[in-house]
């Protein structure tokens, strides 16, 4: 990168003026004339045979145009896809609307199409569906027991897939260990709760034979490809537009039944159709995250050196696979080494079918689980060995000069300095001061806890070889004849601010004004190709593609400038958007003038193509591995079970930073979600497969008053994987924060004999733990 003005600057977002005026267009804000509205009848049962569905009454309803059931469309629409390379994967056919059985609460049974949304909703109540309930398997561990009810008769063991990895001499590690510490850890199911629920608008133009689908999605290009397969439409007659998208967090990194259904209905009915998900539907039928039950064993020397780690996971899959479902638990496996040197690692994952909605990628997607396992275990080991949790971490960190660092799980961490981030966080939080405060307060029977999390995550997804559907990204930079710059990116943002950060990259490279740049995304007819925004990849991969295109544009402009100035390209200097001959700064030509010359094409170098634009597709050579240290200080009230966060410090290293304001926003929002998992959130299914946390009244998303102020700082270790040196930051907060909070609470309750508490750390759990136990008299802190 050249010396820059904008990259690294705290620039306010260019997306915001429309959004703070209420002038953005999310799917439901787009109104096409003559649009019909779709409502979906969903299963109230977790497992039942459909004896009959009678739709006559619904069809009689004024304003109802059509009622569709699963059997009406089973030949017309292909199954909902899953992308996976796991050879053991069992893929149940995942219909858009179910036909003979329902297998989870919320599964689509029928769809009503009506003139307005109220009528569509009314008519749902007139559909008569008779069910014969079947035995339910809700708990993933019970699903594995012999004699358990079976979800897919072809696989009576309810196993969806297996995945394992074993590296190093585990037997030796455990034999030589001074101690083996075991722990069972539950990563509860979470609902992503993007504030905008999903929504789809579809329009078919029969003359042009063109289907346009607006969807609240993170992956318009992948969706286009998959929809063309599901609907058997030529892909070049299909256009997917992700308009303003109201949050995703992985939940919109998918291909959903409703997207195909709406495409089909638009073609069949010849009118635009719209479906907007309600929040209850969202909690029932949009993917969930996490859902792993793990048993971990760590072999350790007396001095805290880790010798080996064995992890067995039961992963709660749900009834069907969604797009990336089987890929998430292996990501946990790959990241299990955390930011430590662990010579021997063994992982066994069993994915289990349950009568529940599918789990899939939710912010962090497999990495929060890995970080939680390792960071909880570091504290458990510290506790068992009587070592300070800081010291045991430092003991097992690889040194900065050991990077690129190869883990036993086979990953190569690009760059890192874990010690520096930890040091900075300790200083920022005032670690020693809190430790003495903890000691002092325990004398007063007040319980302070300090929790650390030193994390590393895998981002910048990623090399295509390691991704199920491509890991590259595209970027186009086009100078218009008037000198304005249009940037196209396949990384389709939904709140991350790429319209700003990508413009910063281009503005610096081309020396043009930020306001002269427009970044376009999310429309497959405009952006030639793309993968999408997820896995903290947009800037590392998509930003790099844009940067490379800007470089190409500049190089072409240099050749044109040299031609026009009758100079050698090598003799030109480029500064502030202007090429001039070395030593003759007055004689020069601006990049805008060159853009015009390139378009009118009357005086260009021989054989040069007219126009001034370039497209790049960046294929990264590796993932990136951001890291950091989060420290949380809590006070726990054993009488009420209440937890007060007294201080929260996060030191994150995401490599080079394009826009610190946006990075802060990503970290803060990420921490809020990780904290939500630690303290409040859980999708609760009962033994009948009913969701007990099925609305926002019961599913506890953190509110403003629940959260503290976070103190943020950074270290900066650039990645060698891309020329920008950026690593990605979208998930860091979520990955780093959860164990910091749990470690703090367990630390606070050590006098009560606490070694581990499963999330969410509800007051009731804490209160019960403290009941009947007299706290050990404080003394030595830990």
């Amino acid at each position: 990168m050249p010396v820059s003005k904008l990259v690294g600057a705290r620039i306010k977002r260019r997306e915001d003026p429309r959004l703070i005026r209420g002038l953005g267009h999310y799917v439901d804000d787009i109104n096409l004339p003559n649009t019909l509205h779709v409502a979906i009848l969903r299963s109230p049962h977790a497992h039942a045979r459909i004896k009959a569905i009678r739709v006559e009454e619904a069809l009689k309803c004024d304003g109802v145009v059509a009622v569709i059931t699963g059997s009406d469309i089973q030949e017309q629409i292909g199954p909902v896809p899953v992308a996976s390379q796991n050879p053991t994967l069992r893929v149940p056919k995942h219909p858009v609307l179910t036909v003979d059985k329902v297998r989870f609460v919320g599964e689509g049974v029928a769809a009503v199409v009506a003139e307005d949304r109220y009528t569509a909703r009314d008519a749902l109540d007139l559909i008569q569906a008779d069910y014969e309930p079947l035995p339910v398997v809700s708990d993933p561990e019970k699903a594995l027991e012999p004699g358990s009810p079976v979800i897919h008769p072809e696989w009576p063991d309810n196993v969806a897939f297996r995945w394992a990895l074993k590296q190093g001499n585990l037997a030796k590690a455990f034999k030589e260990a001074y101690k083996v510490v075991k722990q069972r850890l539950v990563h509860q199911r979470l609902a992503p709760i993007a504030l905008e629920p999903r929504g789809v608008l579809a329009r078919y133009l029969p003359g042009e034979k063109e289907l346009t689908l607006w969807s609240s999605t993170q992956i318009p290009h992948i969706l286009k490809t998959q929809l063309s397969l599901m609907l058997r439409l030529p892909e070049n007659r299909l256009r997917v537009i992700a308009p303003e998208v109201g949050g995703g967090f992985g939940s919109k990194l998918n291909v959903y039944a409703e997207e195909a259904l709406l495409g089909y209905l638009a073609i069949r009915l010849g009118r635009p159709v719209k479906w907007i998900e309600g929040r209850r539907e969202n909690i029932q039928a949009t993917i969930h995250g996490r859902g792993q039950i793990g048993e971990v064993e760590v072999a350790v020397r007396k001095d805290g050196t880790i010798l080996g780690l064995q992890y067995k996971v039961v992963a709660d899959i749900g009834v069907y696979h969604q797009l990336l479902t089987p890929g998430i638990p292996p990501l946990t496996g790959l990241m299990l080494s955390g930011c430590y040197r662990i010579p021997a690692i063994g992982i066994e994952v069993v994915g289990v079918f349950t009568n529940r909605m599918a789990t899939d990628a939710y912010r962090g997607a497999g990495r929060p689980e890995a970080t939680y396992v390792m960071e909880r275990m570091m504290d458990r080991l510290a506790q068992e060995l009587g070592i300070d949790p800081v010291k045991i971490r430092q003991k097992n960190f690889p040194k900065p000069k050991e990077f690129p660092f190869k883990t036993a799980t086979g990953l190569v961490y690009d760059s890192g300095n874990y010690q520096a981030a930890l040091r900075k966080a300790l200083k920022l939080v005032g670690y020693e001061k809190w430790r003495s405060e903890q000691k002092r307060l325990r004398e007063e029977r007040r319980y302070l806890g300090i929790g650390l999390s030193t994390y590393v995550e895998i981002c910048g997804m990623g090399p295509s070889a390691a991704m199920p559907a491509g890991g590259w990204e595209s970027g186009t930079v086009r100078m218009e004849p008037t000198g304005k710059v249009t940037v196209l990116t396949g990384a389709s943002p939904h709140g991350q601010g790429q319209e700003t950060s990508f413009a910063q990259i281009v503005a610096d490279e081309l020396g043009v004004d930020l306001d002269d740049i427009t970044v376009i995304h999310g429309d497959t007819a405009v952006v030639p190709s793309g993968i999408g925004t997820f896995g903290s990849r947009a800037t590392a991969v998509g930003g790099t593609a844009v940067f490379q295109s800007a470089e190409k544009v500049k190089e072409k402009a240099r050749e044109i400038a040299a031609h026009l100035l009758e100079a050698d390209p090598e003799d030109l200097v480029f500064s502030d958007g202007k090429f001039s001959v070395k030593g003759v700064p007055k004689k020069g030509i601006t990049i805008q003038q060159i853009a015009l010359e390139a378009h009118v094409a009357k005086n260009l170098p021989k054989k040069m193509e007219p126009g001034l634009s370039a497209t790049s597709v960046f294929e990264p050579s590796n993932f990136t591995f951001p890291f950091g240290t989060h420290i949380c200080v809590v006070e726990v009230d054993p009488k009420s079970g209440g937890i007060e966060i007294k201080k929260y410090v996060a030191v994150d290293d995401c490599g080079k930073v394009i826009n610190p304001l946006l990075v802060d926003g990503q970290v803060q929002g990420g921490i809020a979600q990780g904290l939500g998992q630690a303290l409040y959130e859980e999708v609760v299914y009962d033994e009948n497969g009913q969701i007990l946390s099925g609305s926002l009244m019961d599913y506890a998303v953190p509110k403003a008053g629940d959260l503290p102020r976070f103190e943020l700082a950074r270290t900066e270790t650039p990645t060698p994987v891309n020329p920008l040196g950026v690593k990605g930051v979208g998930e860091a907060g979520t990955i780093g924060s959860t164990p910091a909070v749990v470690n703090a609470v367990v630390d606070a309750l050590t006098p009560f004999g606490a070694t581990h508490i499963d999330m969410p750390l509800k007051a009731e759990k804490i209160w019960r733990l403290c009941q009947g136990k007299k706290a050990a008299r404080a003394g030595g802190g830990r």
């Binding site: 306010k12 949304r117 504030l195 949050g247 709140g495 929002g669």
Partner: protein
Amino acid sequence: MGPKKRVSIRINGVNYLHEVEPRLLLIHYLRDVVGLTGSHIGCETSVCGACTVMLDGAAVKSCTVLAVQADGAEVLTIEGLAQGEDLHPLQEGFWECHGLQCGYCTPGMILSAYQLLLRRPDPTEEEIRRAVDGNLCRCTGYQHIVDAVQYAARKMKK
């Protein structure tokens, strides 16, 4: 469904007259009938606050108000907050302080904060957090939202 009712509502300084179903929610009236789509819907249980508008000077969740209940009332939505090109200090604050990411909760969040600043021009951080407790944001972790409201309070005092 019953006969339609006539409602006369003044929204952002403009009078609207419509015949609506008595059960029509104010949020659907604003979005689908009047065409003001700045207020959003994020739940159906009055928890998320994305639909918050000012109704006769009080912030309400327009997903739990019927359009007929707003008959004769004055409504302020996000679209009515700026004076032409001049942003309201709250809008400015959200922009300056990066108080939004996906932007979906923002209109409702701004209107809840608007009510707060009407009542308490100089709120503490705790008061701000309490005032927007009925507005969920999944993106920001609220910190920049607090900053944005503080920014607006400072600006409005000047």
